[in-house]
Every structure is written in C-alpha cells, then in structure tokens.
Amino acid sequence: MQAIQSINPAVLIASMYVFVLAAFLGYQLISRVPPLLHTPLMSATNAISGISLIGSLVIAGMNKVDFHALAGGGAAAKPSIATLLGFIAVVTATTNVVGGFGITDRMLKMFQQRKAAKGGKK
C-alpha cells in the first residue's frame, strides 16, 4: 500500500490515540460480558479480528501472479509471491470470519431462558 511510504507523524499519533481509546473501550465492553457467554465472546472477537481480511484482500489484489517471474526467482518474483501469500491470508481470514460468526450464532441460539416462565416445571 502506498500509505506506507507516506505515513506522517500526525497519522501515527492519531493511530496511537485510536489504539489507546480502543483499549479502554475494550476493557469496559469485555468486563460486562458474563462468564456465561465467554466462549461465544472468544469466538466473536475472533471473527471480528478477521477484519485483517481487508489487509489480505489488498495484498492479494495488488499484483498479478507472473508464473514466469515466479519460476525465475529473485526480486522479480517478489510481487507474485506477495500475491500468493495474500491469497493464503484471504483464505484463512475468510475462514475465520465466516466460521467465527457462523459458530457464534449457533452457540448463541442455544442460550434460552426457561420457556413457560412460571408454568409447571419448577
């Protein structure tokens, strides 16, 4: 990404702000999750951090794979290798996003309150 060469101190400082504030927010949010839901929490945060997929997408789409250059090796092969690495990253990140959200929902569906609230059972 071009952003890398042009990153300037203001952007960096803004990033640090985002990081620190997200950390505080994370602490507040996660502390409120009851132990009951800790497994779905882990699987949900995992799916959410699958957002690294957006980085993988750009890498996988930035260069075409040139099999000639790839076979030739050296510096000319680098863009192609990067694309293939990006491709693998897209696969694993997508697996996490789809699998993570899917399984979280499957788990959350199971958490049911007693149906007939005061009827019969107890």
Binding site: M1, Q2, A3, I4, Q5, S6, A14, S15, F19, L29, I30, P35, L36, L37, H38, P40, L41, M42, S43, A44, T45, A47, I48, G50, I51, S52, I54, S56, L57, V58, I59, G61, K64, V65, K78, T83, L85, G86, F87, I88, V90, V91, T92, A93, T94, T95, N96, V97, V98, G99, G102, I103, D105, R106, L108, M110, F111, Q113, K121, K122
Partner: protein
C-alpha cells in the same frame, strides 16, 4: 489511504464497521441481546469487505475471488459441522488462522515495501506483527492438537527446556530489534519469522491440557494484537480497533482464568503444571464409598435441591444431554435443579455453559461459582460429573497442595455428594482428591453418560 487524496467511501465503510463491531460486543453483555449484536458485527464486516473491494490498489480479482470462495466454504463447513464438545479445538484453530493471516500480510508487506523506504515505527509494527503472528500460529496449532488428542495433553518437558526457550526467545527478539534498526537485512527478518514459528511450538508444548483455558485466552490476545499491529502498518483504524478489542478481550479472559486458578500467567507459561506433583497432596486417606445406581437414584429422587457440577469429563463423555435428561426427570418430581460452573471447568472460558446450553438447559439455571457456593449447605445432593480439581478441598484446606488457594466449588459442604467417575484413578492433573474420601461422598463408577441415562431411568421408576 493514499497521499493524493483520501478515499472517503472506503474510510466511511470502515467507520461504520468500527461502530458496528463495538455495538456487537456490547450486545454480548446479555444472552437476550447477543444475537442481535452479532448481526450488527456481521453487517459491519460485510460493509468493510465490500468497501475494500473498491480499493484503488486492487488491480486483479482472481486470487481474491478464489480466496474468498475457498475461505467461505471451509468456514461455512466448520460453522455447521463442528460439535460443541470440540469448541476449544475449533477456537484454537481459528486463533492460528487469524494469526497466520496477520503474519502472511506482514511478510508480503515486507517483500513489497520492506527495507529502507519504511519509517522506523512502521518497521517496528511490521516486525511485531510478524513475530507475534508466527508465534501465535504454531502455538495455537499445538494447543489445538493437544485438545484434539493428536498429541498427548500432558506437559512435554525435557531438561534445560527453560534455558532453551529463554535463548530462543532472546534470539527472536534480537532479530526483531536488529531488523528494525537495520532495514537492509532481509535475512534477519526471515530468521525472526522462522524463530517465531519455532517459539510458538516451544512455548505451548510444555503446558498441560488442564491449563488450556489460560493458554487459549493468551493466544486469543496475541492474535488480536497481531491484527492491531497490522493496522499500524497499513495505517488502518478499523484494523487497530478490531485487533485491540480482540487483544484486550483475550487479555481480560487470561486474567480471569488465572484468578480462578490462583496462579500467575508466568506460572502457567513456565510452570509445566501437572508433571511431577504426584508426591504432594497424597495425604488423603480413608476409603472411597461406592454407591449403587439404585441407591443414587433414590437419593436424588427424594432430594429437595440437587446441584450438578460439570467438568471436562462431561465434555469427553458427551454427557450434556444425559445430564439434562436426569435434571428433567428430577424437576418433574419437584426437585430444584441447579448447575454450578467453575470458571476454569473445561478447556476454555465458558466451555461448560455452551455444552449445557446445547442440551437445552435454561441459562438461568447455570450458576457461577460465587453464586452457587453459598447454596451448597442447603443442597441435598451435589452431583460431580467429570470434575476433579475444581472441587478439590485441598485447594482450600491444604496449603502444601500445588493448587492451594485456588477457589473451588465447595461441594463438600453439601449434605451429600455423588461423584461420577470413570474409575478409581487420579484426575487429569494427577492430584489426589480428598473429596472422594469424605464421609458425605459416594462414588458412582462408570461412563458418565451411561450412568446419567440409567439414573434418569431409575428416577422415573422410583
């Protein structure tokens, strides 16, 4: 994203995604709102992905499409087919996948932009991302293999292991620092990556399965931080936010799990728990009293209050539905049934809750340790299903015990205790459990699932 002008559409989708992720996690504060929250997070993810597909840097879509399709198929199959009992393995595997993606993106970035053009800070973030990503990938794979039983779950240790690990860790960090200071040495960067992969193996291999809740949480945290580091490298805020939320979630869970075992994180990582403790805590003496199925059924059927205490044995025996059947049979007779859940019961945080929810146990009946402990003195029968250390009174009474100080479920204060156990052997950690010898305790040997099903049948016939 580029110097010539910000892509407002892209940034807008990322902002929306960040907001929806935060609202999604907020939803998880209650089972009633959790699913809606997750739908919001999913919508956010979709927005961010679609926005990214319009990124100006993307010139070819063939590999993207292939990756998305393959990932969706694998992820979809996992979401549908993985049984709830295998949730710890699945989660460990997904930590590996997430961390691997972060590591690969980092390596690719290094190949494309690495070297002299990258500012020092970006280089550090990149190195951090790849180091943490590679370490978490192999560490999580080892954890998953242990949980799946592909490699043995007991700690694997050898003499001088700690020195080897310390050396390995020092070399990895050394390579990291060197490649930050000297960007013109790709060899060092790749060595660091290799050492990172090796470190992951070496760190998790000596840790026993009983400590997995902490390890899982820590790996969760590392995977998140690796994603956050990716955000710093790419100057992308939604990545920083999502990665940090994930990282902190894992970190908080690690602390909670450690508290629940009264141990420090370093003790878990370097302690090699459960390897050589057979001498300690052997003071338990006396006789274990066996109880017949019929007697156990009668005792349960005429109780006023029964508390089930599940442990990892419940998961291995796949006995969650059998517990529920027995509970239903008891409830039909007017017995009050509750479930006491220890924070580290099972192999990951919240493991037991998910299993019991799968068996349609209403979540209102699942009690945390602090809430169920005061109830044991008024409990007629506490039924321990495949739990051991979390009900070991030595943790409370014997300051020499390796698990001294660990908060336990005080089942020994109940009027009577029935322990379902496969055989007379020791539990997973190899510790002697004096609970089994107490006068209030009766042992019911056999496979937990079979015993519970038979008990349910007997209770109906009483």
């Amino acid at each position: 994203m580029e110097a010539s002008g910000v892509n407002y559409f892209l940034e807008f989708t990322y902002l929306i995604a960040s907001i929806l992720f935060i609202l999604g996690l907020k939803g998880l504060s209650h089972p009633e709102t959790a699913r809606r929250g997750m739908f919001m997070a999913e919508a956010g993810m979709l927005a961010a992905i679609i926005g990214t597909l319009f990124h100006h840097g993307i010139i070819t879509y063939e590999w993207i499409a292939a990756g998305l399709i393959i990932g969706t198929i694998i992820g979809g199959l996992m979401a549908v087919w993985v049984p709830m009992t295998a949730m710890p393995q699945r989660t460990a595997l997904s930590h590996a996948f997430g961390a691997f993606a972060a590591a690969l993106v980092g390596i690719a970035e290094f190949m494309l932009h690495g070297g002299l053009t990258m500012p020092v800070f970006t280089r550090s973030a990149l190195g951090f991302e790849v180091m943490l990503g590679s370490l978490t990938t192999t560490g999580s794979l080892i954890a998953a293999s242990k949980l799946q039983g592909l490699i043995r779950g007991t700690p694997i240790q050898f003499k001088g292991q700690q020195y080897v690990n310390a050396l390995l860790f020092a070399s990895t960090v050394g390579c990291f620092l060197y490649s930050v200071v000297n960007p013109g040495a790709p060899g060092v960067f790749y060595t660091m990556t290799g050492l990172g992969f090796l470190s992951g193996v070496m760190i998790v291999i000596p840790i026993g399965s009983a400590d997995m809740p902490v390890v899982m949480s820590l790996l969760n945290s590392y995977a998140g931080l690796a994603a956050a580091a990716t955000g710093f490298v790419l100057g992308n805020n939604v990545l920083i936010i999502a990665g940090t939320l994930d990282g902190f979630s894992g970190f908080i869970l690690s602390i909670l799990m450690c508290k629940a075992m009264n141990r420090s994180i370093s003790n878990v990582l370097f302690g090699g728990f459960g390897a050589v403790h057979h001498t300690a805590g052997a003071a338990a003496t006396g006789e274990m009293r066996e109880i017949s199925l019929e007697d156990a059924a009668v005792r349960l059927a005429y109780a006023n209050k029964v508390v089930f205490v599940p442990g990892y044995g419940l998961a291995t025996a796949q006995a969650q539905h059998a517990v529920r059947d027995l509970a239903t049979a008891l409830e039909e007779r007017g017995v009050t049934v509750k479930y006491g859940i220890h924070p580290v019961a099972g192999r990951m945080p919240g493991h037991m809750n998910v299993l019991l929810a799968e068996a349609n146990v209403p979540y209102g009946d699942l009690y945390e340790m602090e809430r169920i402990n005061p109830e044991f003195p008024t409990t007629d029968v506490a039924v321990v299903v495949g739990a051991n250390d979390v009900v070991n009174p030595d943790a409370r009474d014997n300051s020499n015990s390796p698990i001294a100080g660990m908060p336990i479920l005080e089942v020994d204060k109940a009027k009577s205790v029935i322990v379902l156990k496969r055989g007379q052997g020791r539990g997973f950690s190899g510790l002697e459990n004096p609970l089994f010898y107490k006068p209030v305790t009766s042992m019911l040997y056999g496979d937990a699932k079979a015993s519970l099903s038979q008990l349910a049948q007997e209770v109906k016939n009483v």
